[in-house]
Amino acid sequence: MFLKFLLRRILYVIPMLLITTLIVYSFILLIPGDPALTLLGENATPEKIAQLRQQLGLDQSIISQYFDWLINALKGDLGRSVFTGQYVHEAVIERLAVTFQLVVVAMIISIFGGMFFAITSTFFPNSWIDYVSRFFGTLGTALPNFWLAMLLILFFSLHLGWVPATGFTSITENPFEFFKGILLPAISLGAVGTAQITRHLRSSLMEVMSADYVRTAYSKGVNRWQAILKHGIQNAMLPVVTTIGILFGHLLGATVVIETVFAIPGIGQLAVNSVLQHDFTMLQGVVLIMIVMVILINFITDIVYALLDPRIEY
């Protein structure tokens, strides 16, 4: 039964992947004029242009170009960078681990921060902690993340000198340095997530706490903590699981900004650089990888939701 459900979800994911990759690929149509000429610039030699045209597959129809690209992508070959000549998949994989670590820490901050604020806020309604979490919930979504990043750098790096302002150390290399380096970027990235989860979970929890089954729980003699933790949170988390899935995509996208601010060599930074360098094959590759990750996470979210809610029929 569960396998069947899994299979159905996978069948839903495949067309999704096809459509998004087609969208990404068709960006090339947006390039004004002759893409090869635009990408190489005015001074390029005709041979070079012809070579790039062939490399991009511009001498064929867009559909056959897309399928060629897709088949190669499935084989793991995303082409070569127009700018450096490096294989795109190599460049991406090298940097993927970095971005992944950053996003995971930011997600942890968002989820635990959000749960903390939402739960305490429900437990102490209209107390100072409730106001603080509502304030964060409102402000967090309005703060430009790169600006928050700079404020954090100003205070914690330049003023207090506690953590480095830029750079990245992998967790496998040195966990302590990793932690020091990742803190500010992850907070800047996770602030919006914390705010979103706080808002969503708080309203969801408030609603659940006035549900009939919570009243039943009180009539059995449970206290407020038990009511929230045993009966409220699991029900309230259900709609939030979807938010968390969507959030992952947001945060992954936002790495383009945060990695630039903190000079973190992840795929977000790679995306920015490839746009600035007119490195179109690289950009396509990066966007493709990010989208595959987003769709995978949404897939996992669906499964988690089904596991959490006994009412979902597989």
Partner: protein, 279 residues
């Protein structure tokens, strides 16, 4: 529900009231800004670089001796334009797409919605980046990208609302009495989906301003000497050791505008709610 009632309700929400006036103020600033700025925002004066706030330069000067206050006012133009694009483009493309999709159903619906699902799966800042990357780097192209990025949400919203309204008794009645599809869409569907679309537009304004600032910060929106709050922050970042205050002003302006858009959206949602009750 008349326009006056809605406006009166909106103004009775304290935060929405304040937000409304902040946004009106900003729009006026972006229009008349060039005529009232105390200094030419582009004029460099190397004798007066990195001044602290004083009576002549209210917020001080940047590393090229340009007046930060004047630049902040002109910077509102990019923000307001981004908001405008992010509302107009989806209004002209996304909403009709959604209405058609919801009203016609079938294959049109399938195709449109698969595309929308596909676009929504792409993180919007990344999509904007890709579009700008392809179209070429400029503020104009960034605006177009922001507009395109906003299409799917509006399409989904319009479709959902249309699906709901399509089966209402009064629409069925209109159909039976021989009203054409266009007539029904214009007469019944558009007026009914307007409230949620307006609310979404307000939230989208906020989001667009954030995306524009991000793109300009990354160097993919406003190009110097164009001024945007985003590239003002980028420029200030390079001066972070010398004059940290330069970072504060534009960021604060962005935050305030975004908050205003969000609160206005909340207020509009309350004011446009048919089950409105005075708190």
């Amino acid at each position: 529900m008349s326009f006056q009632t809605i406006f009166k309700r909106l103004m009775s929400e304290r935060m929405a009231f304040i937000s409304f006036f902040i946004l009106v103020f900003l729009i006026i600033m972006s229009l008349i800004g060039p005529y009232i700025v105390p200094h030419d925002p582009l004029k460099q004066d190397l004798a007066k670089v990195l001044l602290s706030p004083n009576t002549e330069y209210w917020l001080g000067t940047d590393e090229l001796g340009r007046d930060i206050f004047s630049r902040l006012i002109i910077g509102s133009q990019a923000a307001i334009e981004a908001g405008l694009f992010a509302i107009l483009i989806p209004l002209c493309i996304g909403v009709p797409m959604g209405i058609l999709s919801g009203y016609l159903g079938g294959i049109v619906d399938d195709i449109f919605m698969r595309i929308v699902d596909g676009i929504i799966a792409i993180p919007s800042i990344l999509l904007a980046l890709g579009i700008t990357g392809a179209l070429g780097i400029s503020l104009w192209n960034a605006m177009i990208a922001i507009g395109i990025v906003s299409i799917p949400q509006f399409a989904r919203l319009a479709r959902g609302q249309t699906l709901q309204i399509r089966t209402e008794p009064y629409v069925e009645a209109a159909k039976i009495s021989g009203a054409g599809a266009i007539w029904i869409m214009v007469k019944h569907i558009i007026p009914n989906i307007a409230p949620p679309v307006i609310v979404q537009a307000s939230f989208n304004l906020s989001y667009a301003i954030l995306v524009e600032a991000s793109l300009s910060f990354l160097g993919m929106g406003a190009q110097s000497p164009q001024i945007s709050w985003g590239n003002m922050i980028q420029q200030a970042y390079s001066m972070i050791n010398m004059n940290p205050w330069m970072i504060i002003y534009p960021g604060f302006a962005i935050m305030l505008t975004v908050l205003a858009g969000n609160f206005l959206g909340d207020g509009l949602r309350t004011a446009l709610d048919p089950k409105y009750k005075k708190a």
